[in-house]
Point group: C2
Chain length 119, copies 2
């Protein structure tokens, strides 16, 4: 079930490489990678679980409400992180020339199916 959604997000986005469902402790639930993905999505997820925790702490301190989405644009990769609920997030890595608007749309519309399955 998770696999279908994770694959749909990657295949539906030009430049999409890999997706991952992970908890905030850095433990992966499921993932999908295109065969040519130049990065290991599990490593990306584990690195960014630390980052997103620090973002959530910052948002709390600032009373900015819950964090919904984080986009990180590096030279060789864009990573979009969408918070599913208090325990889980989806990380989506794509090439630097990917259609990030489409990527955001795909995550926003597909993550509810993952949330439903997790509840």
């Amino acid at each position: 079930m998770f696999q279908d959604v994770l694959k749909e997000v990657v295949d539906g986005t030009e430049g999409g490489l890999a997706t991952l469902l992970m908890d905030f402790e850095g433990i992966a639930v499921d993932s999908y990678s295109k065969p040519n993905a130049p990065f290991d999505i599990n490593t990306i997820g584990a690195e960014f679980s630390v980052v997103i925790k620090s973002i959530q702490r910052a948002a709390q301190m600032l009373e900015a409400g819950n964090t919904a989405e984080v986009a990180i644009q590096a030279e060789k990769m864009i990573t979009l992180i969408r918070v599913v609920n208090d325990s889980y997030f989806v990380a989506f890595s794509m090439s630097p020339d990917a259609n990030i608007g489409k990527a955001r749309y795909m995550l926003r519309t597909r993550v509810p199916a993952i949330l439903k399955e997790l509840s």
Copy 2:
């Protein structure tokens, strides 16, 4: 000089609230806030200097190249961070309904003037 650019970015973006030029140690160089900004941009910058350091560490570990931009979407605020060089970044906070595409464009086109001034 910085003040002009920081103000131009806020005023040129629908929903723009405040901008800040800060070094990665969390020390502000200059900032501009609209009078009605509901958040203190210096606090935001200091919180996110910690976040962006952890992102840069993650990107290094992943060999993803330098981080250019980070966008954080929380319930009550969007913060866009653009790395200026190895030492400085610009943080731009806006309301949740702001035009984030315009915000990214404004930062991308105005930050070179800041970089020139810092060099």
